[in-house]
Symmetry: C2
Subunit: 279 residues, 2 copies
């Protein structure tokens, strides 16, 4: 085999890279053809240049930027590569943590959509066992039942900002809800107590994390916040009629939220629930 020159196409082919990428690398000075015809401006490479191209591709595979690769190749400084790689390692770890959260959130969302499709119709009352849950919560500063949706939106924003401020993963910001003290519920008053988002075990521990115990709940389904007062009343009446003993605080839980139908209103699927004791 002779010391042949390779055209850009040949060089591209044996290196599994595109011709335009090779031209780009020439342009930014990452790897220059060993010979360029002065007339035709055709680029010609040498098979020995594969070494450099391999190195470039390897560093790219490690996630380094072209600028960094160029710097490293120009300086010939192994300390520089090392510092870049150490930085990159941290980055990759962060990315992986993010992807993990994302994957969990995607799964939750798909499940939530499935549940939505198979859920009972509006107004249905059920008695369900609900496993324990974890919530990230904040006490409400105003009783939004006395005001409109705007106040609720504000409270929700504050909850979200609190998550952001504490550098916690924002991806749980679906499946929100509110609670109300058992006493208020029993009196038929609507008094918000706290606002929350459901989180899972991946969520970092903090003071704002509470556990809602598992148990039997009497539930009613609805699809708009506006109807909450009416449906909460129905729920209470149902419990009284059946002599169920209410064992804890009332929860209004967003099962699915897709404001896809209306620009301004939250398109929702809600479940109001109170724990009941049978003994």
């Amino acid at each position: 085999m002779k010391n042949e020159l390779l055209s850009i196409g040949e060089m591209a082919k044996i290196n599994n890279i595109s011709v335009s990428t090779l031209r780009l690398y020439d342009e930014i000075g990452l790897i220059k053809p060993c010979y360029t015809d002065k007339e035709s401006r055709y680029r010609y490479y040498n098979i020995r240049q594969n070494a450099r191209l391999d190195m470039i591709q390897y560093m790219k595979a490690l996630g380094m930027e072209l600028k960094e690769i160029k710097e490293v190749l120009e300086s010939g400084d192994t300390k520089l590569i090392e510092s870049i790689l150490i930085r990159r390692k941290k980055q990759v770890k962060e990315q992986m943590a993010n992807l993990n959260l994302q994957l969990a959130a995607i799964s939750r969302t798909i499940e939530s959509l499935e549940r939505y499709r198979k859920s009972p119709s509006i107004g249905t009352i059920t008695i369900e066992y609900i496993p324990h849950r974890k919530i990230y919560s904040m006490p409400t500063s105003i009783n939004f039942y006395d005001y409109g949706i705007e106040v609720y939106e504000n409270e929700l924003k504050e909850l979200k900002n609190s998550i952001i401020k504490h550098n916690l993963p924002q991806i749980y910001y679906c499946n929100a809800g509110t609670t109300m003290k058992k006493e208020s519920f029993l009196e038929g008053k609507l008094e918000s107590d706290e606002i929350f988002v459901l989180v899972d075990d991946n969520f970092p521990q903090s003071d704002s994390i509470k556990r809602i115990e598992s148990g039997m709940y009497v539930c009613i389904y609805l699809d708009s916040f506006d109807d909450e007062p009416e449906y909460a009343k129905r729920l209470l009446e149902y419990c009284k009629e059946n002599n169920y003993k209410i064992a804890g605080d009332y929860i209004c839980e967003v099962l699915t939220e897709f404001s896809v139908f209306d620009d301004e209103k939250r398109g929702m699927f809600l479940r109001l629930q109170v724990p009941v004791a049978f003994r």
Copy 2:
């Protein structure tokens, strides 16, 4: 709290988003301000629009593209979201697998650089225990010792292409090496047998994967392929002088490769090695 209008800046602030992003979303029709002043063209939002913006941010956090989000919001089709999310889930899993390989490769590279800095000087002969290794290998079709570096480069390319063709992770393409039969080595001939890359346990099983057993090796260090014949000879002589019994095939291993100093030659750190038996 009144039904106030929010300026773009206020809207941006409460939603932890930039003003320019809000303008972009307006432009592409993802979320339009509920009112635009006809004179000043100032944009004004309503706090109830947070619902839609939240939804957008949530879908973005799930890794959906703006185009997809727009489609979903416009169609109001939960089936569409689901199909997008299922696709996305696969994507995320692939990305995670890639990042895992990348992380391992970065660690290997950092280690390799460290080793390079602490390694014995060129020509040093050592007797080392080397743990077992796994290699992805191909028999050489030409004895490149009889030809130049070009032939070696070609063989290396073929090995790489074989990895690509079989859809195996390319990131192992560092730490290459060659082997030679024990008999050839003993006769002082240089006859390449196979060319390989070192892989780890993450690498998928295949017919081309071989195991090199752990054991005691007599090694010599060098920094250029050109010197291999001479150093291989020294290694053989050393073994003979000390009456070491050569117990297996000769290996030429690239410990560190950084062609950062020279455009055309592989800047390398090599270790020639033969297993020896003491009993």
